[in-house]
């Protein structure tokens, strides 16, 4: 950028700063932020986005600006940390770098950095703890057993290097509990001193104490969770449970109403790892759940790669009758019904269930 261009931008900047004060609106804040971004002043752009969001908290444009600016700030900070690590590597610098990568959701760079960190500081538990947390996050999102197995290996390595590592123990205990290896979770938690427990840990201890053990072969339990698409034990945090409950009651009622419709045999609502079922379904292990999950995922991939946007609905006919699937992101509602069932009405009802649950989750904003 030459000097004249730069001067023009500075002039524009002064004008926009005055406009933001005189007539604040999402677009004036976005314009200002954009100029800061053009000048490579990421922090000022982030500040503009934050200021704008204080006045217009629902503005999608401002949220987008904040995301872009934050990414820029993180990039600048990671570049700086990498340069310092090159010159003088330390555990603290690696920890800071990995924390930023974790926050920005860049799992690939996080794994590479943790690997580098563990090679340079082989006796430090830090890289394995971060690696374990990252794999855990992927596992809870996708239920892929490979991620779960990697998380267990990393967290066990962290505990092996630092036996008093509380965080690794708690994360591992929580994973064991969620997949049903309750006895192993109990053993881990018993080794964590109970003084100074926060409410989350107290809650986990209570739930682990009350839960039935489904076995101790964690790999087998992880694979079974992947196959069934469900975790035997629901997330332990009270916050998650209470937030979900209000919305879920309404969804349960809507799903029950759909299951009562003419010709409907099975009805399910699935969000992430949780599922609600109605009709001729015994439990979360019914193969219908896995079938609709797989079809929806394949539908998503097909639509995205064909460049026709995201997959919204699917109607599959066969000797089994009709499968109706309606989804948005990770939320899906599905029905198996007979061929003479009113599929248009069923699809409309399913869409309503998905939309109302998204509204309850606040995604629609």
């Amino acid at each position: 950028m030459n000097l004249i261009q730069r001067l023009k931008i500075w002039k524009e900047l002064r004008r926009l700063e005055a406009r933001v004060r005189e007539e604040p609106s999402p677009s004036t804040f976005v314009d200002l932020g954009q100029v800061f971004l053009n000048l490579d002043m990421q922090e000022r752009a982030l500040q503009a986005a934050e200021d704008g969001l204080l006045l217009f908290p629902d503005s999608a444009e401002l949220k987008k600006l904040r995301t872009v600016a934050r990414r820029g700030v993180d990039r600048a900070r990671t570049d700086e940390l990498r340069a310092r690590i090159e010159k003088n590597p330390s555990n603290r610098l690696y920890g800071e770098l990995v924390a930023i990568l974790a926050e920005s959701g860049d799992a690939g760079s996080l794994h590479a950095t943790c690997e580098e960190w563990s090679v340079r500081f082989p006796h430090d538990a830090g890289p394995f703890l971060w690696l374990g947390q990252s794999c855990l996050q992927s596992f809870y999102r996708s239920l892929a057993s490979r991620d779960g197995i990697e998380a267990v290996a990393a967290l066990e390595r962290a505990i092996g290097l630092e036996p008093k590592q509380v965080r690794a123990r708690v994360l591992l205990a929580e994973l064991f509990y969620r997949v049903g290896a309750t006895q192993r979770a109990r053993t881990l938690l018993d080794a964590v001193p109970s003084e100074g427990d926060d409410s989350e840990l107290q809650n986990l201890r209570r739930q682990v104490a009350a839960a039935r053990s489904l076995g101790s072969d964690v790999e087998e339990l992880l694979r079974s969770a992947e196959e069934n698409g469900l975790l035997p034990n629901a997330p332990p945090t009270a916050a998650v449970a209470s937030r979900g409950d209000d919305g879920i009651a309404a969804i349960r009622d809507s799903l029950a109403a759909i299951a009562e419709m003419e010709g409907v045999e099975k009805a399910a609502y699935i969000r992430g790892t949780r599922a609600l079922v109605k009709g001729d379904i015994k439990d979360g292990k019914d193969p219908f759940l896995r079938t609709v999950r797989v079809v929806a995922k394949a539908g998503h991939r097909y639509s995205r790669r064909l460049d026709v946007g995201s997959f919204k609905r699917g109607v599959i006919q066969g000797p089994f009758g009709v499968l109706c699937i309606c989804c948005y992101g990770e939320v899906l509602a599905a029905v198996q019904c007979t061929t003479d069932a009113p599929t248009d009405r069923i699809l409309a009802e399913l869409q309503e269930v998905v939309a109302s649950s998204l509204y309850a989750m606040g995604v629609s904003q």
Partner: protein, 119 residues
């Protein structure tokens, strides 16, 4: 022009249809009538992936195979009809009226099923 190609060309004239193709389950193109917007290899690959994944998921759930699959995406619709050894894939725009074109699609699938058997 062979009967399969002829059927596809006819199908292209149905309102809302932007392209159609007959593809084997393993992704080989038997015949197609796609507009310039679509690449034959991409549509064939994706269609065979979706058809095979869906059939596998249905079979694993003890439901057998699908006869037809209508997929609604944000910017388009796709219809898949099983025609024996292959699948008829019809790509439509998002505003296409499926009810209106249902008869044409079904009779095309029937003709293709017959052609596939004779061939």
């Amino acid at each position: 022009m062979n009967p399969i190609q002829e059927t596809l060309e006819d199908l292209r004239h149905v309102s809302g249809v932007k392209g159609c193709m007959v593809v084997t389950h393993d992704g080989l193109v038997v015949a197609d009538s796609l507009g310039p917007r679509y690449r034959q290899d991409i549509v064939a690959g994706l269609s065979s992936y979706l058809a095979m994944t869906t059939n596998r998921a249905l079979a694993e759930g003890g439901l057998g195979k699908f006869d037809s699959f209508v997929l609604h995406a944000a910017h388009g619709k796709s219809v898949f009809h099983d025609i024996g050894e292959a699948v008829l894939v019809v790509l439509m725009d998002q505003f296409a009226d499926l009810e209106q074109g249902r008869h044409e699609l079904q009779s095309a699938a029937q003709r293709l099923r017959r052609s596939a058997r004779l061939g």
